[in-house]
Symmetry: C2
Subunit: 463 residues, 2 copies
Amino acid sequence: MKKFIALLILCLTSNLRAQLPSHEQQIEKIYKNALTAGKAYDWLDHLSNKIGGRLSGSLNAERAVSWGKTELESLDLDRVYLQNVMVPKWVRGTFEYASIISGPGMSMNVPICALGGSISTPSSGLRAGVIEVKTFEELEALGEEKVSGKFVFFNRPMPAEYINTFEAYSKTSNQRTQGAAIAAKLGAVGVIVRSLNLRLDDFPHTGSMRYGDLPNNKRIPAAAISTNGAQLLSSMLSLNKDLKFYLKLDCKNFPDVPSHNVVGEIKGSEYPDEIIVVGGHLDSWDLGDGSHDDGAGIVQAMEVFHLFEKMDYKPKRTIRVVMYMNEENGLRGGKAYAKYAEQNNENHIFALESDAGGFSPRGFSFEATNSQFKQIESWKKYFTPYMADRFELGGSGADIGPLRNDQIVLSGLRPDSQRYFEYHHTANDTFDAINKRELELGAAAMASLIYLVDQYGFNLEFK
Amino acid sequence: MKKFIALLILCLTSNLRAQLPSHEQQIEKIYKNALTAGKAYDWLDHLSNKIGGRLSGSLNAERAVSWGKTELESLDLDRVYLQNVMVPKWVRGTFEYASIISGPGMSMNVPICALGGSISTPSSGLRAGVIEVKTFEELEALGEEKVSGKFVFFNRPMPAEYINTFEAYSKTSNQRTQGAAIAAKLGAVGVIVRSLNLRLDDFPHTGSMRYGDLPNNKRIPAAAISTNGAQLLSSMLSLNKDLKFYLKLDCKNFPDVPSHNVVGEIKGSEYPDEIIVVGGHLDSWDLGDGSHDDGAGIVQAMEVFHLFEKMDYKPKRTIRVVMYMNEENGLRGGKAYAKYAEQNNENHIFALESDAGGFSPRGFSFEATNSQFKQIESWKKYFTPYMADRFELGGSGADIGPLRNDQIVLSGLRPDSQRYFEYHHTANDTFDAINKRELELGAAAMASLIYLVDQYGFNLEFK
């Protein structure tokens, strides 16, 4: 009799299991819906074209917050709310301009833009000679005598030989972030930084810079010059090292202002205390409309919920979408989210960010223990048919970084990186640079990964 | 003593081997040169912007032949020559036009283009009702009575759910290739085919069509309508099934004209009789400048030789670049090349074609025996750092197809396919749609594969 009951239970269980869709079937549904009935592209159309660039502290950033909240409320979530975040407010101003003056009456405009956080020039602008360097070491070696009273022109190009363009970025971005602070200490009057762009074109690329511990009266203006402009300036300097550069910036730092992260969640049916986060950052730079950086990440994170709704998937764990504010120049949203999570004793098991552009997804990177990564690698097979199965250890996303601890797994969507730095932080990061299918495939890959984490959670000892 | 000599030989051999660069090092050189000192992008700039669209039989096609020969002669090859090929000559003419007439005085222009090979309309154009169908079965079921005297509007969209867009293409391309022949047999006066494009936009996409055994007096004109135009026509038909469509085409078929394949080769130092081919097709459609289809393939094939030259690599086997003429509307170049190869008793061991656009390479597809594919798969590891390691069986390239036999391995470069059909056979297939790095990565992947085939050849029994 016992045997009979055991057999009966076995039969019922296996029948039940047979009726549940397989992971392959669920992921197939996710992809099919994303490609045929997705909302990501239309959402991004609105965010990019009806709202546009949304720098922290701007009116547009608040419009984006309000839009994000409204759209999340239109999804079938259990809770949508705002988190208060104080953010820096830096304003580009109305006029920025630069020219190379190679002799009396001989001047040539070059495309520049202020770096985010820079002080302005005097209202009449700055006119000075130029010292070109490739590295900080080279600059230090020149010393105060040669640098004082001049513009320092940081002209180290992004190296083309890296396959992953983010590596090339990491080899050159300190010119932009620290260049002004270092040059100021040597008495420079301003810095001109070669745009972080692998292509030669006419777009200057902005991005954050920091003065560090430099007192206010020692700070100097910092501008990016387009790659073509940098090539021109460099070749003109090689002909005439005494040429002058004229720079006028009109930007300004204001006191911090209040803003918000936008958060939505579905309560888990079985493990409501295990929280899974998926997000991107809602703020962008002001030059383009931030379609790739990071409008794409925002709408892909929203799409995860829309796709679950389409397939009527009820998560076991709590899944939260977070639209972080102020990734670009402060990371205040990411820090605030982590602080609130700690205050509320929340248990985050996984956080996924998309902040590398809306391009064709190649896979994910993870910050995880070896045992966690072993478990994740067992899921690779589900992504192979969708060509998104490159799983690697190392790196995730800036906004989710503050959640880092010994337990949580962090992850970043890794799209093809070849085109990213043509659009990064510049005026052509606009909706027309987005391919609908590539965007949708990224959202589908993210939804598939979130689905699997929701199904399994993370075992502390996965073999 | 024998032992000592054996030991000495072993030492010398292993020393020699140690001095030879490893495959990893060679492939690293290939990639580095492609990304930092490549010529592919500049070559394509010339082919696209200085020559432009180059339909078989046109003056531009002959200019491309002459350019190709000159450029190959500037490389360090042992031999450059032309192969005679007779090609079809179809000319679009000066005027093509269409409109939807929904009532007296109510007409609306829609973007159309003649399909390649179509006959023209009468010089006053054609005006008739429209029958919309999705499939040939649907059309046959309607029968002559409902079709006769009308335009047949083939409106089956490319299905969005396929990850590989070439699969979506294969599900819909028969509307374009066979639609007119089938509709003509039912008495249709012309066909309007939805452009093979996954995106909704205003570009009509041309491409080849065939009348098959249809006698000349039964042939009907065939045009493609843009995807937006197709959506419009379909919704207007749903409101008014009696609307009229007006079509005017001015195209013409001429007798075949002489043209050429362009061939260059390096004689192999060890196995000169084993021939490895790498190529693309030099002809393109006439609407754009054929940058993706297939200017990219042409310059990537040329780049293989330039990269070998840069690293001073002397191949063991004979390596041949072939710029095929007339892939688009006849495949005469591919057929002629195979015929010459057979006449000359040449032993081709491998042929690689790039004809899927200049996008980020994901890997290669192969037509090979299981044992050959096993050998090829052992090389995957060399491509993993470059994210081009998706190797799969099935399909290669149209131009190299005629070389198919039991011995040869055929292969096609497989770039990311998401954007391809936005540019395929239409006016926006232009140089600005090419990303320099993506193009270069494709060339490097191809050079790496050719290098490995040259190093190993194919063993008949690889374990």
